[in-house]
Symmetry: C2
Subunit: 227 residues, 2 copies
DNA sequence: CCTTGTATTATTGTATACAATCCTTGCGGC
DNA sequence: GCCGCAAGGATTGTATACAATAATACAAGG
């Protein structure tokens, strides 16, 4: 039950890092709903720390767009709407396609090996119904893809989005049918990368994300786009 | 000579906001080169503030990936390489295309009017050789496109990148030939949006960014991708 | 009764003090 | 000479104190 998807900013052994992770999770989970005001002292007391680490966490949350800070006034939860989730999946579908394309040329042997192992293990745990491991492996597969792209910028960006929709993804994967299908799609992406077929890799990664998106909507996890 | 491209985090009337903006600019401009260690006290003294606002600015810079903070040790400048710039232009080419596509359905009348005015004014100032106004209008055109996409997420993301490559863009636009050509491309994007032609809008916005990218390389502003 | 001004209070912004951690340096032993 | 290690200093992490700003309540005047 540990998410370390986003290193670099979480730093879970400092108070600030813990406050940051905790608040982000609480906002993403809906504990603090949209528009609510977060007071530094109240948060600090709740977590048993002073205002300093809370303030630093606030500044980070603002940059992530999760809260809006009005100077000398307060911090207000922005939250994440169904539309945001939909948008992120569309963006991800395009950017993951790009990551897969670039991975064809930049993936290292170590990354390739870990990816193969990942696909193998995912198949195993899916058959056994180990949802927690499935979740972790799915996380790792995508992270590997990002890292293999060889682009610090793209990797950073996709990890951000990945983290952002974490809550939704957890529900999605545990659905009985999506798990195996997702594994097949991972395997296809991996094969395309191994064969150095950039067009296929991009298309498959793109479709993979679109499928995840459709699944989410079919399951009623988020509202479809109404126009 | 003022950039307010990125509201929300800059907040230039607080010490933290000023420290943040200043440090980001200095890193992007190369004043602090890659790998250098930033000390809270030194930065604070240089800007005449205490450690507190400096620390908060550091946390934000870390989240933007401009510095790397190693707990209990220090903050190190990560910087922005030529490869980063190239990657951002490729990402932007795809995402701006998406923004243009979405803008077809979501642009408001006000935004459309401002965009038309923008294109008109840009033509005027380009003929007169007013580089500062050209720069501002180019900024604004892209911001308008982002806002017109109707996606908070996409807008946020693209504004980030826009800000990130600000320094490079300033050099690019002032080149004699790129200015008029860029204006023509803006106009074409605007026309496609007005005609509700999503495919054209996406393609043109995409090409616009690729052209900017090629121009940058032709002018020798950044190194080309060597493979 | 409504408006406006002011005093009070609550909250954020900043500075400083203290604690914890890391790095350096120099000493001693081998 | 080289390695280990401890003491000191430097730097970051956290807490608290003080300043500035904004919200609120209430009273005075129209």
């Amino acid at each position: 039950m540990e998410e370390d998807v986003k290193e670099g900013a979480s730093d879970k052994y400092s108070l600030r890092g813990r406050v940051f992770s905790r608040l982000r999770e609480d906002i993403l989970n809906g504990k603090y709903e949209e528009g609510i005001e977060l007071r530094e002292i109240a948060i600090g007391e709740e977590l048993g720390v002073s205002r300093t680490p809370v303030r630093e966490a606030f500044r980070q949350l603002e940059l992530e767009g999760l809260i809006r800070i009005i100077p000398n006034k307060g911090a207000y939860v922005v939250g994440i709407s169904d539309k945001d989730v939909r948008d992120i999946y569309i963006l991800r579908s395009r950017l993951e396609g790009l990551a897969a394309r670039w991975a064809v040329d930049h993936i290292t042997n170590e990354q390739l090996e870990e990816m193969e192992e990942n696909v193998y293990l995912a198949k195993f745990h899916t058959e056994k119904g180990h949802t927690e491991q499935m979740f972790e492996l799915d996380n790792r597969f995508h992270e590997l893809l990002y890292e293999a792209s060889g682009s610090k910028i793209l990797e950073h960006q996709l990890k951000d989005y990945h983290q952002y929709v974490l809550r939704i993804r957890k529900k999605t994967l545990s659905s009985a049918k999506r798990g195996p299908q997702s594994n097949l799609e991972h395997e296809a992406i991996l094969e395309a990368i191994k064969k150095k077929n950039a067009d296929d890799a991009e298309r498959l990664a793109n479709e993979h994300m679109i499928n995840a998106y459709k699944n989410m909507i079919d399951k009623g996890l988020i509202k479809p786009d109404e126009i």
